[in-house]
């Protein structure tokens, strides 16, 4: 508590000093796109004379307070024509600006949209931004633009490979990423086992990935934050765009409800039922669809309302015997309110759920599981002065976890209906963070988040002797589940356990000269939810579980230091960072843990620890016909679970072992070349050290079967992963003077047809009786063609 007290008193002190400094006037407003009124995120509003400026927030709002005077205001953004205007500030002023897209105005495609240009002044480090335009340019398998596949090209981001859900950031696990879609938490970001992500590329406005130095306004996950904002809809005119591909098609409609005040947006995507030709000859199918719907309405200058919904499902069926459905549902209401020209607020009410269902006709049952949450967020952005901005807010999330429910699906089924016990929890967070420009060269960002987690009462709560659900069998040197001494039914109004954490965040940037800066950051974070997964790649079936009496929250400490430099007027930029992080209470699974339909999950998990460190390098060419980047990461990611007492061996004998997402070298090279108005070319090259895995060190026979013997965990590696992709976009010239704008994208994924191993398994060959190693690879060379249109 003392820490919190000191923090708030010093904040008040800082606020006072800045408030009483001078008579200031405030310029505030909203910046939007000229043709659609779509608000723009991250637009810079600069006053060069005072060498100060702000950027617009997630709702396009900015506010800057400066002494009385006449200033030149420069407004600039990614891919838009800048505006320079002279303004006399002698009273507070509200000014909205509209920016025009650059390409629309110029005859020649002079590419100056430095979309992801490095911002060397802001203390925020370890963050990567991608615009919807650059995501769409990146060649991907099957021709479908994809957010998650795009961020994999950034330093410090890897995935378990083709066909694996999610992504790993700086050696962290998939469940340690906070994925926000219009402020709502998304629990599974993948369609079709990771071949697609759940985000519709046409609807995306802004994507930011925070890998470190995570601001205090975010909490609940320890590795990264992927913050995605979708378009709100065009309130000027009706627009339609879409694409037709080999495996999926999409359509997006947007238009005004009331001109310049309200707009709607509806988008949908669907893949074709028989996506995989290999499965098409019998009654198998695999497909997904998703739907985005949004409404926004401007009540008046100070109030905006937003309503949005997302619904996505994957369906996977094998003849009539097996059917599997899963997906996210999100509904979201937001209210932007300006208390004053300096105080912006957003209130969000969010419902989200993730559902997983399985129907297995052979055994005659239907299986349902999921996680559901209600989320209330109230965030304030307080633009106190040009040197000092304060953000604060609260967040409360109520969770209901349904680990599984089984019931018979036909009358002659022998299945007895049964329910794994629902779990309930509440997570509360309050934060305050400041961005504080101390001198012209030194800017600080500091904040504190208080998080409070309650695991609420439930039915069938297992009580163990000495509160120990996992016993060590010293005869066989193995861990085993204990037998509960008692099973209690505890009311939901009672609390099983509570956790409190104070999470300080700190960042600083020091401007060495106009073109280079040094940044440093520290963040401490707590994560109360865990995704139960002990497979080499995460699956949609993995179940989330809350911290509680037997599972501690994961606690992270991360330190990062970086050097940032722009060359040749920002044509080139270099970002280098080193990071070190430690995570306490990373759960680990005892050997042979069975997580599926396990009602006593506490009996198979132990709390361990994890650590990761590495070096990241990102060199970009931001301007010109040829653009692109080279990203390189050298890193290490390990975990261990020592014995709780000196008699216990711990998991893997208590020694550090590689996590499945430890990739020593990770290189990605991305380039795009605009030949002329008609043709543009894109290419990716990726190289990653093979994923850690287990190979047998011996064999023995048991009941006539050949059984492999395994050594310590994750000692071997799969062969290195690499591939080259190319794509060509053709924009027909006849587009110019007509309403319909169209383009064709031709792509080849994995050009040299490398058979990258998704797994190597070992088995006895049924015919020869000899043992052999079997490689599974997902995609060889995959050509694709997509037709995109808008009018």
């Amino acid at each position: 508590m003392r820490v919190l007290y000191i923090f708030f008193t010093s904040l008040l002190f800082l606020m006072n000093t800045s408030l009483f400094a001078q008579q200031n006037y405030t310029l505030s407003g909203t910046i939007s796109e000229a043709s659609s009124n779509e608000t723009l995120i991250g637009v810079t509003v600069a006053i060069p004379e005072l060498s100060t400026g702000v950027v617009t927030n997630e709702y396009g709002f900015f506010s800057i307070s400066v002494p009385q005077g006449t200033y030149e205001i420069q407004i600039s953004a990614l891919g838009f024509q800048g505006i320079t205007r002279t303004i006399t500030l002698d009273k507070k002023q509200k000014l909205d600006f509209q920016l025009k897209e650059e390409a629309e105005q110029l005859d020649e495609v002079v590419v100056t949209e430095n979309v992801e240009k490095t911002n060397i002044r802001k203390p925020q480090m370890s963050v990567n931004a991608l615009s919807s335009a650059s995501i769409k340019k990146i060649p991907v398998v099957l021709g479908e633009a994809d957010v998650v596949k795009s961020i994999l090209l950034l330093p410090g981001v890897t995935s378990a490979g083709e066909g694996a859900s999610g992504f790993n950031v700086r050696g962290g696990a998939v469940d340690q990423n906070l994925i926000l879609l219009d402020e709502a938490i998304i629990f599974n970001s993948s369609h079709l086992f990771g071949f697609f992500s759940v985000f519709n590329p046409d609807a995306i406005k802004d994507v930011k990935l925070y890998k470190g130095g995570i601001p205090a306004r975010y909490g609940g996950r320890v590795s990264s934050v992927l913050d995605i904002y979708q378009k709100e809809g065009n309130s000027k005119q009706f627009k339609m765009n879409g694409g037709i591909g080999i495996v999926a098609s999409r359509l997006l409609l947007e238009g005004p409800i009331e001109k310049d005040r309200g707009a709607f947006l509806v988008g949908g995507r669907a893949s074709y039922a028989h996506l995989f030709l290999a499965l098409a000859d019998n009654n198998n199918s695999a497909y997904f669809y998703d739907l985005n719907a949004k409404l926004n309405y401007k009540l008046n200058d100070n109030n905006n309302l937003y309503l949005s919904g997302y619904f996505g499902r994957d369906l996977f069926a094998i003849s009539e015997s097996f059917e599997n459905v899963y997906g996210n549902t999100v509904a979201n209401f937001r209210w932007n309110h300006l208390f004053s020209d300096k105080l912006f607020s957003n209130l969000s009410l969010i419902y989200s759920d993730y559902y997983y269902g399985l129907e297995l006709d052979l055994l005659g049952f239907q299986w349902d599981s999921g996680i559901r949450n209600f989320n209330l967020k109230y965030d304030f952005k307080h633009y106190l002065s040009s040197n000092f901005q304060l953000n604060y807010g609260i967040n409360n999330i109520y969770y209901r976890f349904n680990p599984g429910e089984i019931e018979p699906n036909r009358e002659d089924s022998g299945i007895v209906p049964q329910k794994l016990t629902n779990k309930y929890a509440n997570e509360f967070g309050a934060y305050m963070e400041a961005e504080h420009k101390l001198t012209d060269k030194l800017t600080l960002q500091y904040g504190l988040r208080w998080s409070h987690f309650s695991r609420l009462g439930q039915d069938e709560f297992n009580v163990y002797e000495n509160e120990n659900p996992v016993l060590f069998n010293s005869d066989f040197q193995i861990y085993e589940g204990a037998t509960p001494v008692r099973v209690d039914n505890i009311s939901r109004s009672e609390t099983l356990s509570t956790f409190n954490n104070f999470e300080p965040r700190l960042g600083l940037s020091y401007l060495v000269n106009e073109n280079s800066s040094i940044k440093a950051s520290y963040n401490h974070m707590a994560q109360y939810l865990h995704l139960l997964s002990n497979t080499a790649s995460p699956t949609p079936l993995d179940v989330w579980t809350p911290s509680g009496p037997y599972t501690q929250p994961q606690l992270l400490d991360q330190y990062a230091l970086g050097y940032f430099r722009n060359f040749q007027d920002g044509d080139y930029s270099l970002e280098t960072e080193v990071f070190y992080k430690e995570i306490e209470n990373r759960i680990d699974y005892i050997d042979g843990a069975d997580l599926i339909a396990n009602n006593d999950i506490e009996q198979v998990i132990l709390n361990g620890e994890a650590r990761a460190y590495g070096l990241e390098l990102l060199l970009r060419k931001n301007n010109g016909r040829l653009k692109g980047w080279l990203a390189y990461t050298l890193s290490k990611s390990e975990q261990r679970t020592p014995g709780r007492t000196s008699e216990e061996s711990g998991i893997n004998n208590g020694v550090w072992y590689n996590t499945p997402f430890d990739k020593t070298h990770d290189i990605s090279l991305n380039g795009s070349y605009e030949l002329n108005e008609k043709w543009s070319f894109n290419s990716n090259f990726l190289f990653q050290t093979g994923q850690p895995t287990n190979y047998p060190v011996g064999q023995y026979e048991q009941r006539g079967l050949v059984v492999p013997i395994f050594g310590p965990r994750n000692q071997e590696r799969l062969p290195a992963y690499h591939r080259l992709d190319i794509s060509v976009t053709l924009t027909p010239r006849k587009n110019k003077n007509r309403k319909l704008q169209a383009e064709w994208t031709f792509g080849i994924y994995n050009l040299y047809n490398r058979r990258n191993a998704a797994a190597v398994n070992f088995r006895e060959n049924a015919d020869t009786g000899n043992n052999e190693a079997l490689r599974t690879s997902i995609f060889g060379i995959v050509p694709s063609i997509t037709y995109n249109f808008k009018f």
Binding site: A597, Q699, V706, A758
Partner: protein
């Protein structure tokens, strides 16, 4: 059930392709392997005994054969009465067998297996586990993936008074462990599928059911998971599975394998053209 759930992911990997590759594998020190199971068919007179104790050594993974052990001393003790029952070497393939099946039918006692090999003594303890008699084995018409598998449907009545664990054997190295978690006290009906290259019309298949302990159920599930074709990228982190036998002299030189005694039942079925 787990196995069936995993099918979904197996199938996901079917869209990719599989090929056999060369891999260099590390070696490990050989260990004693004790494959000890006594299956007692109590519905037959006299009670038939299958199984015994098979002693072998572990070997490097890509070797074709594992070494067999012919010179060990093996006996089982009824810990209630203290009587030792010797198992004698059969002269073939590392198998040691007892003389009388009826010596192991006491459901109220612990049985201890002792193996003495190269001056080290290995011991494991178990109890005989009851089985529910098979109600019926019949042929079904459903298929699994390719549309030409042969379905065999097995049913039995679970004993609702206790948690039961069963282990089914179908031949062709096909096994299925079953727990009654979702079937407590009801009739359990399940299907297994034979590949057409293994079984054709006119063949007789034998379905055997065994009662096993919870610990053995966990053990054999892991063994089966590791010996299957593997779940591709969705296979769980493999680990060497310790059984229920220890080395009483040299703790670290532990054996692998399991000692179990099961009540057993079997039914035969001749495959017909449907």
């Amino acid at each position: 059930m787990k196995k069936i759930l995993i099918i979904s992911f197996l199938t996901a990997t079917l869209i990719g392709c599989e090929d056999v590759i060369e891999v260099d594998l590390p070696s490990s020190e050989p260990r004693l392997i004790i494959d000890a199971y006594l299956n007692l068919f109590t519905q037959e007179i006299p009670v038939r005994l299958e199984g015994g104790v098979r002693l072998t050594l572990s070997e490097d993974y890509f070797e074709d054969e594992v070494p067999i052990i012919e010179n060990a001393t093996v006996f089982i003790t009824n810990l209630g009465t203290g009587i030792e029952y010797p198992l004698n070497y059969t002269g073939a393939d590392g198998w040691y067998r007892p003389e009388n099946s009826t010596d192991f039918l006491d459901f109220a006692t612990d049985y201890e297996l002792t193996v003495i090999y190269e001056n080290e003594t290995y011991k494991g303890t178990t109890q005989i586990q009851p089985v529910a008699p098979i109600n019926e084995v019949r042929q079904g018409t459903r298929t699994l993936f390719d549309g030409d598998e042969i379905e065999v449907i097995v049913s039995f009545n679970d004993d609702g008074t206790r948690d039961n664990y069963y282990f089914y054997e179908f031949g062709f190295d096909e096994f299925q462990p079953i727990e009654d978690q979702f079937f407590q006290g009801s009739e359990i009906v399940f299907s297994t599928f034979f590949e057409p290259e293994d079984v054709s019309v006119g063949d007789t298949i034998t379905v055997k059911g065994y009662g096993i302990t919870k610990q053995y159920y966990t053990y054999i599930e892991l063994i089966l998971e590791q010996t299957g074709d593997g779940g591709g990228p969705f296979q769980s982190l493999p680990a060497t599975t310790r059984g229920n036998i220890i080395n009483t002299n040299n703790f670290d030189n532990y054996p692998l394998g399991y000692f179990s005694i099961s009540e057993a039942d079997e039914e035969k079925l001749t495959i017909q053209e449907l």
